[in-house]
């Protein structure tokens, strides 16, 4: 087992852990951050597996575009959903009025 497979295995373990964090977190904003971490780790994995073009599109889509889409959707849903329990934001530091 060479060091390349060690890199592969560490990346896979982190990928599965980040996916577990996405499922486990109740806070929607935190889950979006974990999804972005999944995109970043998948990018390194694609480079290690010899697919730099796929890694290009994955870093743009998985690490930036997809979280921004989710954040826009959460922000638009927040204006309509009054129940904060629903968005999983009970323990968050909410916006300070000033």
């Amino acid at each position: 087992m060479s060091a390349f497979w060690l890199l592969d295995f560490v990346l896979l373990a982190l990928l599965v852990a980040s996916a577990g964090v996405v499922v486990w977190l109740r806070n929607l904003n935190g889950a979006v951050m974990a999804l972005s971490a999944v995109g970043v780790l998948l990018t390194v994995l694609f480079v290690a597996l010899g697919a730099p073009d796929v890694a290009h599109s994955e870093v743009v889509v998985g690490a930036i575009a997809l979280p921004v889409l989710y954040l826009v959707a959460i922000g638009k849903a927040r204006t309509d959903v009054t129940d904060e329990e629903d968005l999983g934001e009970r323990g968050e530091g909410r916006r300070v009025r000033r």
Partner: protein, 115 residues
Amino acid sequence: MRLAFVVLLLAVGLAFSLSGAVGVLRMPDVYTRAQCATKTVTLGTLSVLVALVVGEGPVSNYGGRALIVAVLILVMSPAASHALLRAAYRTGVPMWRGSVVDEPRRMREEQESGR
């Protein structure tokens, strides 16, 4: 000889990155965490990039790209950290109990008491 320099710089960079990661894990509030993340990880990153420049030569593809990334990190990292922490302060993320200096709050209170 060059190999020894490269390995030494890689080891220094890894040590700084590890200390920054442990600081992010163990510090008590978001401001000290971001301080660890900015200073320590920037130093670790720069050490590894200098190792690439030493190992591959500054005019090769790898060394040149490492220099571009180094300039990018030196410019962008403080700006991003500052924007993030200003947003965190304005959204009311609490400070650690033991922290002693809160300049914006002190200035605001002085303004209100003087009026």
